[in-house]
Amino acid sequence: MTIFLILLLLLIILTAGAALLVVRDPMHGAVNLGVSLLALSILFLVLGAPFVAALEVMLYVGAILVLFLFAIMLLRTPLTTWEEPRWRRGFWWPAVLMVLLTAVLILLFSRRPDLMVVIQEIGPGTVGRALFGPYLWLTEAVALLLFAVIAAVLAIHRRDDHDA
C-alpha cells in the first residue's frame, strides 16, 4: 500500500513537471511547479523524513518559487491568451493534480494500519546530529559558500550606491 502511495506521488510530481513544459502562461507554469514541489514534500513525509519535508515546503515552495513568481509578476506578461486550445491553458491540470494530492493526504492521515509506513522515521534531532557530526566539514563548507554569496550581494549593492 505504501508502494501505491509512493507511485501515486511520483505520478503527480512527474505530471506536474510535464505540465510545466506544456503550459504557455508562466504563472500557470509556476503553480504547476509548486504542486510538484508540494507532492515531493509529501513523498519525503511518506518515506519517513518529516524534517526534510517541512524544509522542502519552507525553502523551495516558500522562498525559491516565490522569487520566480516575483520575477514573473514584474515582467508584466498579459493574462491568459485566449486563442490557445482549451487543454493548453493549464487551468485544469493543477486542479486535477491537487485533487489527487488531497486524496493521498487523506489516505496518509487516515492512519489505517495497512497504510502505515513501516520505514523508520528520521526526526530533526537525528538530522542535526548527522549534520554536525560526520558531515561537519561539508556543512561548514556550505556555510562558507553562503557567506561568500552574502558578501558578494553586499559588494554589488555598494558599487551601485557609488555610481548613483
Partner: protein
C-alpha cells in the same frame, strides 16, 4: 467509525475556529470604537454581538462572480488557499498538554512556518489573478513583505528551539519552567513585530493599504471569496497570538486556573494588543518597512541566536 469520529472532530474544530475568527471581526470593530472614543457596532443583540453573524450572512448571500479580466481558476483557488493554510496550522497548536491534534509532532513549528509560506501564495496568486493594477501592486508588496519578515521570524524562533531542544509545541511549553519572555526578551519583540507583518495587519498592512491601493490584493474580490481572505487574516492573527503565548508566555502554565483557560487569557490579551497597535500606530512608508525588516530585525535576530547559543553553551559548561 474511528475515521468518522475524527472527521467529525475536525469539522467541529474548524467551525469553532471560524466562529472565533468571525467574532474577532466584531470584537475588533468594537474595541477600535472604544479606543477612538466612539461606540462601534452595538445595535444587533446584547452589546452588538449579533453583528458577527450579520456580517457572515451578508458575505454569504452576496453574488459570487469572477471578473471578465481575471484568471478564473487561480482567482477561485487563492482565497481557499489562504483560509486553508491558516486553518491547517492550528492542527499542531495544543490547548493543553494532552489536548491537540498533533501537538507532539516533532516538526510542529516547521509545519507552521511551511503553512505560512503557503498562505503567502494565496495572497499573491489572488492579487495576480485579479488582473487589476492595484491588486498586482498589492500582491508584489505582499510577497516582498512576507519574504522579508519570514527570515527574522524564523531566526527568533530558533532561540526558543535552542533553549527547549524541541520543535514540537508540546515540548516547547513543557520545557518552560520560566516563561521564555524572560530568557528571550529580544526574540519575543522580534517575533511579535514579524508576526504583525506576516499577517499584514496595521501598521504593516501595506499590501492592502486602502488610501493607496484601494484594497490591495483583494480589490476585485467580493462575497464569500472576500470572506475567505478576511477569515484567513483573522485566523492568522489568532495563530500568531496563540503561538506567542505558547512560545514566550509559558503556554498553559499558570496558577489556580486550568491550563487551557490560562492559554485563552494570554491569547486574548495578545489579540487585544494587536487591536491596540492598529488604533495607535500610523502606517510606515514601504521603504521604511523593508529597512526595518532587513537592517534592524534581521541583524538583531542573528545576534539573538548567537547570544542564545553562547549562553546555552556556557550554561552547560558551568
Amino acid at each position: 467509525m474511528m475515521l468518522f469520529l475524527m472527521a467529525l472532530g475536525m469539522l467541529f474544530t474548524t467551525l469553532v475556529l471560524l466562529g472565533v475568527a468571525g467574532f474577532l471581526v466584531f470584537a475588533e470593530r468594537r474595541v477600535l470604537g472604544f479606543l477612538q472614543n466612539r461606540l462601534g457596532p452595538n445595535r444587533l443583540g446584547p452589546l452588538g454581538v449579533g453583528q458577527a453573524l450579520a456580517d457572515a450572512l451578508k458575505l454569504m448571500s452576496k453574488e459570487n462572480f469572477v471578473p471578465d479580466f481575471a484568471d478564473p481558476v487561480l482567482y477561485r483557488a487563492a482565497p481557499v488557499l489562504v483560509a486553508f493554510s491558516a486553518l491547517a496550522s492550528f492542527a499542531v497548536v495544543p490547548l493543553d498538554h494532552h489536548f491537540s491534534w498533533a501537538g507532539n509532532w516533532n516538526i510542529g513549528l516547521l509545519f507552521i512556518l511551511a503553512m505560512s509560506s503557503l498562505n503567502a501564495y494565496g495572497v499573491f496568486l489572488g492579487g495576480w489573478a485579479s488582473g487589476n493594477k492595484f491588486s498586482l501592486l498589492g500582491a508584489v508588496r505582499a510577497v516582498a513583505q512576507l519574504v522579508s519578515y519570514e527570515l527574522p521570524m524564523g531566526l527568533a524562533l530558533l532561540g526558543v528551539v535552542l533553549l527547549s531542544g524541541s520543535l514540537s509545541l508540546n515540548g516547547i511549553v513543557a520545557a518552560q519552567n520560566l516563561p521564555y519572555i524572560v530568557l528571550q526578551p529580544l526574540g519575543f519583540v522580534i517575533f511579535l513585530i514579524a508576526g504583525v507583518a506576516e499577517t499584514h495587519r496595521l501598521p504593516f498592512d501595506l499590501p492592502e493599504a486602502e488610501s493607496e491601493l484601494v484594497a490591495g490584493f483583494n480589490t476585485e474580490y467580493g462575497g464569500m471569496r472576500f470572506g475567505y481572505f478576511f477569515l484567513g487574516e483573522y485566523l492568522g492573527l489568532t495563530l500568531i497570538a496563540v503561538l506567542t503565548a505558547l512560545l514566550y508566555l509559558g503556554g498553559w502554565h499558570g496558577p489556580w486556573l486550568p491550563g487551557w483557560i490560562w492559554l485563552l487569557i494570554k491569547t486574548a490579551a495578545l489579540i487585544f494588543v494587536f487591536f491596540w497597535l492598529r488604533a495607535t500606530l500610523p502606517r510606515p512608508r514601504y521603504d521604511q518597512l523593508m529597512a526595518l525588516g532587513w537592517k534592524v530585525l534581521l541583524p538583531l535576530a542573528l545576534f539573538n541566536v548567537l547570544a542564545t547559543a553562547l549562553a546555552a553553551a556556557l550554561w552547560r559548561l558551568a
